[in-house]
């Protein structure tokens, strides 16, 4: 119960700070939109190849956009040594992990809610009725990205070239999530259902649960190392 109260308190603080600064969400939104337009004008996808290529392009946009958000994740804590103030307090480090993950998830979902329909329009995709299934896959993939991203962002917090280091350590570990989301989306776009890709969906769910648990348990060590 205490863990949830502390998580809520930290999340409230982060959302309030973001509402006042708006730098993360606006940067992410503009960058995501810009990438979509670049992809749109660079690739002239034939209709029979769209279902194969579209998920990869969409996830590429989400990955780059999300990495921008992760780079800013502990910005407020870096100013005025506020991280020390948090570490000094009786705060459960697991709450800090949950709050930062939730905050990043909220930002990414806000961007995705706008970017995904835009992608749909730009690439002339048919079947708007598939959007709920695609949103489900995107949600699970985004949770995986945020969970692992928060751990890696905290690990590289004190590194000198952290903006460069973060994607280098994060992207290889994200391969299972990227593969699973792309396979699931491809299956939904081609067949209108998960079909054989259901096993990828289970992998995605398993990844989220495992790394969420691991994050809560090891964040203590991660943030202090």
């Amino acid at each position: 119960m205490e863990l949830l109260t502390q998580t809520y308190l930290l999340l409230w603080k982060d959302l309030l700070l973001e509402l006042r600064r708006r730098d993360s969400v606006l940067t992410m939104f503009f960058f995501g939109t810009l990438l979509l337009f670049v992809f749109h004008f660079s690739f002239d996808l034939p209709p029979d190849k769209v279902a194969e290529m579209a998920p990869a392009l969409l996830w590429l946009a989400f990955l780059f956009t999300g990495t921008l958000g992760l780079a800013q994740l502990f910005q407020a804590e870096r100013e005025n040594h506020c991280l020390d103030a948090l570490l000094l307090s009786p705060l459960d480090r697991g709450a800090l992990f949950l709050a930062k993950t939730s905050f990043n998830l909220i930002l990414m979902l806000l961007v995705e809610i706008i970017v995904m329909p835009l992608f749909w329009i730009l690439f002339n995709l048919s079947g708007w009725n598939l959007l709920p299934q695609l949103f489900l896959v995107t949600l699970l993939g985004t949770i995986g990205f945020c969970v692992l991203g928060t751990i890696m962002s905290a690990l590289t917090l004190r590194a000198r070239a952290r903006e460069l280091l973060l994607p280098l350590v994060l992207f290889p570990l994200m391969i299972p999530v990227i593969l699973a989301t792309i396979r699931c989306m491809e299956s939904v776009l081609k067949n209108g259902e998960f079909g054989d890709a259901a096993s990828w969906l289970k992998l995605l769910l398993g990844f989220d649960v495992i790394f969420m648990t691991v994050g809560v348990l090891i964040f203590d060590w991660v943030i202090e190392s």
């Binding site: 205490e2 600064r21 100013e79 506020c82 000094l88 307090s89 459960d92």
Partner: protein, 238 residues
């Protein structure tokens, strides 16, 4: 309430910042932590706060190991960094509300208002901390620790950013904090000011404890240690 430091040492790579340090402070102790630059004062404060882990040795406060990651011990330790540890884009009141909630104090708004009144910031309660000067930020920090009442309060060079009124305010707060039986350790280069307040002086020199005595009047041993270990830029009057 007692602080016990046993054979504490901290190395950064091959450099020993602190070596074989032992301290035993009873309730109500007010320690002036003195020493030249690079003597290990800030390292000692960070170790006592649990912000860094010692290479060897142990710290116990009120029966709990500080170096272990115990929230109960952390709740009892405060670190007053003059213009730090506050969120710039939260208002003065929001900062105080956030930190009191984090320490599960859940102070009523009236207590926060009273603390702000004490530090002379009642009129600026809704201003962003980022818009305040360093001196005013230090006053917000004083209000914060006044509300949180830690059993062990650590201060790192608090005089640098405060004006005359601010110094009076800080000293009033620290005196009353010790009267409640709490322990205060203040690192400072303002030797005469620190000695007026303290009831014990500790001098660090090249990471070693060179002097540790309760205050006396007169104090010839301190005068000797002062001449031996401290920079002579400032005069000291017993």
């Amino acid at each position: 309430m007692r602080l016990t430091v046993n054979k504490l040492a901290k190395a950064y790579g091959f450099l020993w910042a602190l070596r074989e340090l032992n301290l035993d402070l009873p309730a109500g102790a007010f320690v002036a932590l003195l020493g030249p630059n690079g003597a290990g004062k800030t390292t000692l404060l960070k170790l006592l706060a649990g912000l860094i882990a010692p290479t060897t040795g142990a710290i116990q406060f009120d029966g709990t190991t500080v170096t272990g990651n115990d929230p109960k011990a952390r709740k009892q330790i405060g670190f007053l960094a003059p213009a730090d540890h506050l969120y710039e884009n939260l208002t003065v009141r929001e900062n105080l509300r956030f930190f009191t909630s984090l320490y599960q104090r859940n102070d009523r708004a009236a207590n926060i208002e009273a603390a702000l009144e004490t530090v002379g910031l009642a009129q600026r309660r809704d201003e962003f901390v980022g818009n305040l000067s360093s001196g005013l930020k230090c006053r917000v920090s004083i209000a914060k620790w006044q509300l949180l009442q830690p059993g062990l309060l650590l201060l790192d060079e608090p005089y640098g950013v405060l004006d005359g009124n601010g110094v009076d305010l800080l000293e009033r707060f620290l005196r009353s904090h010790c009267e409640y039986g709490h322990i205060v350790i203040m690192a400072s280069h303002h030797v005469s000011r620190a000695l007026k307040l303290c009831n014990r002086a500790v001098i660090l020199h090249q990471g070693r404890l060179s002097f540790d005595e309760a205050k006396q009047q007169p104090w010839p041993s301190f005068a000797q240690a002062f001449n031996e270990f401290l920079p002579h830029g400032e005069s000291w009057n017993s």
